[in-house]
């Protein structure tokens, strides 16, 4: 079995160059080249913290102290640490979006040294300290999975999942969005740089189109109604400020006012998008800027109007959320409003906090606020001092995404067992309580994670070309999407623990394919006892060996042949709560 693993590694590294060529505007570079170039760039650019030379370890220590302080204040005791196997399983899921294979799990369990977790975290982001070529090949493979996972996460946030019915009239090109994000995560582009590029993007949306710039996809479907959604989503995703209600009225329970909404909105009014169609189908959209005459027809002072609820008309000029005004000329050669906005956004005090809160929420199951992108004064923060400091350090150290991930994944909170104890049973944010992070909060895998996990577990992750794999995955995922068809782009997923999801796992094609895969045939035909094979399937899905009762059920099972029994075991594992939950 170790042999298979090596074989797969080689195949993967062999195909990596063409995978990149497909996805990225930066084309022919390999992950390793990119990483090397960026390591140099990052080392050069990173300013140290204003508060002195704070190391990653210092910061992790600070996180742990703050979390412990919360326990002391609320009279809660932490759960014991998770086992190495549990920690490894959750780390793979959260960092690269799939479960570890048995071989990967065993490699980690066999590793030693006080910094084994730190090495594992770094490895999954493509960083290795050894000069062994085998290690760097492994790291390259992980870097690609890491970038794919985060591109998928942020693409879902920014432009949603593919709809159930393919709509050729959609403006967004999700491949384009993912190509941009994937390239950025691969190069560890600083978060402020990414957001600047996204907010000020010009170019075309679809890979292969002239002047392709995948970053344009964030805005391109949010420009209707004078870009009201672009206004609301920019504030929400990048600053954790929810302004959507203030479009029509002053906010009933926070400080936001209607004129602030329209002041922010004015930054988007030079934005112009043009659809390039082939019949009904949108081939690509060109996003650009053009001179804005203003609704008062004075381009030198290009103003906009909005209506109060009482019908009174008010005027607004580009004014940032903190009150900063820019030159209100509508001429692009005098002021590029979105470029100005981008600069203001990344310098705002919420910018670093908003990112850290979202990332903390991703890894720990809950952020410091609920929801993570509403950090207004009306919304209580569970650990305000910690969130402030994380935001400051993230900004001060150059918005380094990988560094932020290290702080979180190497914290004590991330290492705790998901079993609660009598001393922390009340720490349950699903009851509406503030999260205290005294045990790991379990949550269901996302559909994307299930898919990648099954592919990896059955060694099907290298079948076909990367394009074919991506198309197959998108097709499979689309079955869960329910769109509401409104101008907020809302959607829901039926992969939510209800009956349709259970039916899909019990009887769906994905499960059938996994049960009858070449991998399963090889497993049952291979030498070794049935007991070993059952153990192997438990490790591959639950990262543990079966209990004696579980093993007995499998070993005493009736079947025409061992292959049937193994299929039944695998079926039971894939349908279990212990499998579908990240714990």
């Amino acid at each position: 079995m170790t042999k298979w693993f090596q074989l797969i590694c080689c195949t993967l590294v062999g195909t990596s160059a063409c995978a990149l060529a497909l996805w990225q505007p930066v084309a022919s570079s390999t992950a390793a080249e990119l990483a090397a170039a960026d390591a140099a760039a990052t080392a050069r650019e990173l300013p140290r913290s204003a508060s002195g030379n704070v190391t990653d370890d210092d910061l992790i220590k600070f996180i742990n102290e703050q979390i412990r302080k919360g326990w002391a204040d609320t009279g809660i005791g932490p759960s014991p640490a998770a086992t190495d196997a549990e920690w490894c399983r959750r780390l793979y899921l959260d960092m690269i979006g799939r479960l570890p294979t048995v071989e990967e799990l065993n490699l980690y369990l066999a590793s030693g040294g006080p910094d084994k977790r730190k090495r594992m975290v770094s490895l999954l982001m493509g960083e290795v300290s050894s000069s062994n070529p085998k290690d760097s090949a492994r790291a390259d493979k992980y870097l690609e999975e890491f970038a794919r996972h985060w591109a998928s996460k942020y693409s879902i946030l920014f432009v949603g999942r593919p709809p159930a019915q393919r709509q050729n009239r959609e403006l967004v090109n999700r491949d384009g969005m993912q190509a941009y994000l994937r390239g950025s995560f691969l190069r560890n582009k600083p978060w402020d740089k990414m957001v600047e590029e996204i907010v000020s993007a010009t170019g075309t949306t679809s890979p292969g189109s002239p002047e392709f710039n995948g970053a344009t996809n964030f805005l391109v479907n949010k420009l209707a109604e004078n870009a009201t959604e672009a206004t609301a989503k920019t504030a929400k995703y990048f600053l954790g400020i929810q302004v959507q209600c203030t479009q029509c009225h002053n906010h009933p329970f926070n400080d936001w006012k209607q004129d602030q909404f329209w002041g922010l909105n004015a930054f988007f009014r030079q934005t112009k998008s043009v659809q390039n169609r082939n019949g009904q189908n949108v081939e690509y959209v060109t996003l650009g800027n053009e001179d804005f005459n203003g609704e008062g027809s004075n381009p030198k002072e290009a103003e906009i109007y909005f209506e109060l609820r009482n019908g009174e008309l008010r005027v607004a000029y580009p004014t940032f959320v903190d009150g900063t005004k820019i030159n209100s000329s509508g001429y692009v050669n005098e002021v590029d409003r979105r470029a100005e906005l981008a600069k203001l956004v990344v310098k705002h005090e919420n910018f670093g906090k908003a990112f850290m809160n979202r990332m903390w929420g991703h890894f720990l199951g809950y952020g410091f606020t609920k929801p993570v992108d509403d950090m207004g004064p009306h919304n209580p923060v569970s650990h305000p001092e910690l969130l402030d400091r994380l935001g400051q350090e993230f900004a001060a150290r150059g918005h380094n995404v990988r560094e932020a991930i290290k702080w979180i994944t190497l914290s004590e909170a991330y290492s705790l067992s998901s079993r609660s104890t009598p001393r922390n049973k009340k720490d349950d944010p699903s009851l509406g309580e503030k999260p205290m992070f005294s045990h790991f909060y379990i949550r269901q895998m996302q559909a994307e994670e299930l898919y990648e996990s099954l592919l990896a577990a059955t060694r099907a992750d290298q079948e076909g070309t990367p394009e074919e794999r991506a198309a197959k995955k998108a097709m499979w995922l689309s079955q869960f999407t329910v769109t509401f068809g409104n101008d907020e782009g809302d959607e829901a997923t039926t992969f939510d623990g209800t009956i349709p999801q259970v039916l899909m796992l019990m009887n769906g094609d994905l499960t059938k394919t996994a049960l009858t895969s070449a991998f399963m045939q090889q497993l049952s035909a291979s030498n070794g006892s049935l007991k070993d094979k059952v153990d192997y399937l438990y490790m591959a899905t639950l990262a543990r060996k079966p209990s004696s009762r579980e093993a007995a059920l499998a070993l005493n099972a009736k079947g025409a042949n061992p292959q049937d029994v193994l299929q039944d075991v695998f079926w039971a594992l894939l349908n279990s709560n212990e499998f579908i939950f990240n714990h």
Binding site: A224, Q244, C245, C248, K370, P371, D374, N379, S418, R419, S420, T421, K425, S430, G432, I442, Q444, Q479, V482, T483, F484, G485, N486, D487, E488, D490, A492, T494, D496, G497, T498, I499, P500, V502, L503, M506, N507, G508, L542, S547, R549, E550, L553, A554, A557, K558, G559, D564, D568, V569, W571, A572, L573, N575, S576, N577, E578, F579, I580, F581
Partner: protein, 436 residues
């Protein structure tokens, strides 16, 4: 004739002594009564218009006003109640139906509006409230039902909130298809698989990891029941007679273009199919079905889209459902509730569209013990506010009224997961006109 449980049981005891022919006729009587009992299962069908329908163009027109738009009003089977000229079939069902014209709901953001209309509560980050479907599934649950008590056709609806996964919506395709229902596996092997699964599932559920693993186990059990249930036939409309399908606007196969559409437009039959599935489900004993119809975010060219597409589709499906329920004697026990996220602005914007508007708009109810044939409340002359003479009606008031009509006690109080008492329907006030 109704039969209570004791009466029924006494017949059962006597039946052992009956002679064969008498027993046969008694079986018939039992079947007739079974039908009667099915009919008496109270239920609610919600027709949810996703993204906010312009009720000023459908149920509460303002012809001649600058806000009025191009549509004219027509008379209906309810004296004095007029609706849009593009709802001619519904016009014949208005004697069963009440329009609530003084809704005033404050939430004009899609997400928030949809949540508020489904639950009677405004969104609150620390708690998830149960929606109509979950509340009605819980209160009107039917122990003999194998289909989940809350079915959402063609949309996601809203979840069970703190009532738990047992009351989550069972979301199916808009044509009523339930995917992945068959395993094609012989019973002994299926049992073997389920035995292995139960062992893993039970261990994890008992491992102090909160409610979620336990809820997962319940969903597994329900799903297995469903896979083997005869009741799933209720989702299949194939065996409905042709005239019934036609009434719901479902063209016979091969008919292609439906007649009557403007310019030979192909009529959308999805909504009609969903309505027919909903009626079949209620007939089978499902207490709550939500049918979603999308396409209402009419920020531009509102009236063309309404006239050519949305209103003919709505009119056909909704009128068929109400008429069908009435003809089968089911309407009295089945509430049909029509609503959306909110209404749309009286003012027509520069793109001939209407934007979001929650200040004054309409919802519609029929059956379920609610008095039809009327318009409750009114808006002012140009439709920009609830008329001075009327009380504004909120989402929770409508919800309380529907629940009361179905015989659910408004004194019912739930306990949220963090031990807060939560009054059913957010203590909404009953709309008294619906019970006059």
């Amino acid at each position: 004739m109704s039969m209570n449980r004791r009466h029924f049981m006494s017949h059962m005891a006597a039946s052992a002594a009956m002679t064969a022919p008498v027993a046969a006729s008694f079986t018939n009587l039992l079947q007739a009564n079974a039908k009667d009992m099915q009919k008496r299962q109270k239920a609610c069908i919600m027709l949810f218009m996703n993204a906010g329908p312009p009720t000023i163009d459908i149920w509460d027109l303002k012809p001649g006003q600058p806000t009025g738009g191009p549509f004219q009003e027509i008379e209906t089977s309810a004296p004095g109640v007029k609706i849009s000229e593009h709802m001619p079939l519904m016009a014949k069902q208005m004697h069963h139906t009440a329009i609530v014209r003084s809704m005033s709901t404050r939430e004009a953001d899609h997400n928030r509006g949809r949540y508020y209309m489904h639950t009677g509560y405004v969104p609150n980050p620390s708690i998830e409230h149960p929606s109509y479907g979950a509340v009605i599934a819980k209160e009107l649950g039917n122990p003999n039902l194998e289909i989940p008590p809350f079915v959402a056709i063609g949309g996601a609806s809203y979840g069970p909130g703190f009532l738990g996964m047992s009351y989550a919506p069972f979301v199916v395709d808009s044509n009523g298809d339930v995917r992945n229902l068959n395993m094609n596996m012989e019973a002994p092997r299926l049992a073997q698989r389920l035995g292995m699964l139960a062992e893993i599932e039970g261990g994890f559920a008992a491992s102090a990891r909160g409610e979620a693993p336990i809820e997962h186990k319940k969903v597994i059990d329900r799903t297995v029941t469903l896979m083997t249930s005869d009741q799933m036939k209720a989702f299949k409309i194939d065996d409905e007679p042709a005239n019934v399908k036609e009434r719901y606007g479902i063209a016979a196969p091969g008919a292609g273009m439906a007649a009557g559409g403007q310019g030979g437009m192909r009529r959308n039959t999805t909504f009609g199919r969903s309505c027919l599935v909903a009626r079949r489900l209620v007939e089978r004993g499902v207490p709550f079905v939500e049918v979603d119809m999308g396409g209402w975010d009419l920020h531009q060219t509102t009236h063309d889209t309404l006239k050519n597409n949305l209103l003919p589709t709505l009119d056909q499906g909704m009128s068929a459902l109400i008429e069908d329920l009435a003809q089968r004697g089911m309407l009295e026990d089945t509430a049909v509730v029509w609503m959306g996220d909110f209404g749309r602005t009286p003012r027509i914007n520069a793109r001939a569209g209407r934007d979001h508007w929650a200040r004054c708009w309409s919802t519609v109810v029929a059956g379920g013990g609610l008095k039809g044939g009327q318009a409750v409340g009114a808006t002012n002359e140009d439709g920009t506010a609830v008329a001075d003479s009327c009380d504004p009606i909120k989402s929770e008031d409508l919800m309380a009224s529907v629940l009361k009509g179905l015989g659910v006690s408004l004194e019912t109080t739930y306990t949220s997961k963090n031990n807060r008492p939560m009054k059913i329907a957010n203590s909404g006030k009953v709309i008294k006109e619906l019970f006059a």
